[in-house]
Symmetry: C2
Subunit: 209 residues, 2 copies
């Protein structure tokens, strides 16, 4: 198909597609003349994936570039690749308070998790600890163990979901989609559950329509 | 204190503070001369809260404005106010597929939750359903019930956390902080738990240091 049809089928505007081609986020089509190229279904799917990461996941173009480079590189070490992609999806802060990171590491050990203190998500969590104290809300940290237990249930669901796929590229695409769309889904479900729990505790006795 | 000290103590640059004052996000200080004003600890705490919402929560200035307007308005209907704040923290899509929204409503009813289909989080979740199908990953939706169960545990933790506070403004500040910082914490914990679970399933037998 031509770029116009690719745009229509993916929901991504032509100038944006050209930008993605220049940035190497979208592989080039098959050149049919000096000014034209032909695209196929793999381009449609890739564009939809990029759109999901940017629009729903709020990722930067640079982050999307790095993740796709990992997805596209051939390998057979599933554990390592999944780690790389998962880390690529985390925006790790450059500077963290080491004492807060110590607390995060203690939680990780307490949970029996195999993650090092260099994991971007550990650093990201340390930032949350620091921020919670700075704005005088240290109580948030006290609930972290129960959050961690809930996240174990979520992670098992995630890995079961990834096990649906065969072929390293589909598996990794599953990790990216599951992480990005999953974070959006979980944030939404958390708010719905909060509304329900708040109503149960503080709301009127009659059920709300 | 003068604006320079407010900047130093809050970690927010002076031009940004002036912008927040113009936008009504930060209440004005006590004017001491035509060109100077005095600020107090409440300004420091408000600025740290705004910084957390924008930098960690990724909220827009407009969203922060709306949330703070709710926090600052006096009321005693806790359930209603918490709902308003929680909804303000959700960026609801304008257009959603009604069939996807039907599925979300079925899940909400299945969980026994008291939320209507107009809840921004319900609309946001419907968007995720649509996106998952568009990029050919409908399997993600199959795990939503287990996600919802994990979110019930999280929501109970959240409401216990909010119960730490007395006074409507502190309670609502707790909801904002808990939601924004909590989403960041949960995203990080989810990735740590995924890394641990992936290692358990696919990693080498020896423990990772």
């Amino acid at each position: 198909m031509r770029i116009a049809e690719l745009s229509r089928r993916s929901g991504v505007a032509v100038p944006t597609i050209k930008f993605y081609l220049r940035e190497g986020i979208l592989p080039p089509g098959e050149r049919t003349s000096p000014n034209q190229a032909r695209y196929d279904d793999s381009h449609v799917r890739r564009l939809r994936l990029v759109r999901a990461m940017i629009e729903l996941g709020g990722l930067s173009v640079a982050a999307v570039h790095d993740i796709l480079a990992t997805v596209d590189s051939p390998t057979d070490d599933l554990d390592k690749l999944m780690g790389t992609v998962s880390k690529g999806l985390t925006q790790a802060p450059e500077e963290v308070d080491e004492a807060a990171l110590d607390e995060v590491v203690a939680l990780i050990e307490d949970m029996g998790w195999t993650c090092t203190r260099d994991h971007p998500a550990a650093r990201s969590l340390a930032m949350v600890y620091t921020a919670a104290r700075e704005i005088d809300h240290p109580q948030l940290i006290a609930g972290m163990r129960r959050y961690a237990e809930a996240c174990e249930v979520i992670a098992r669901t995630d890995l079961d979901y990834v096990a649906n796929f065969t072929g390293i590229d589909r598996v990794l695409e599953g990790v990216v989609v599951g992480t990005v769309l999953g974070d959006s889904a979980l944030a939404a479900l958390r708010k719905l559950a909060q509304t329900a729990e708040s109503h149960r505790r503080y709301g009127p006795d009659d059920p709300v329509e």
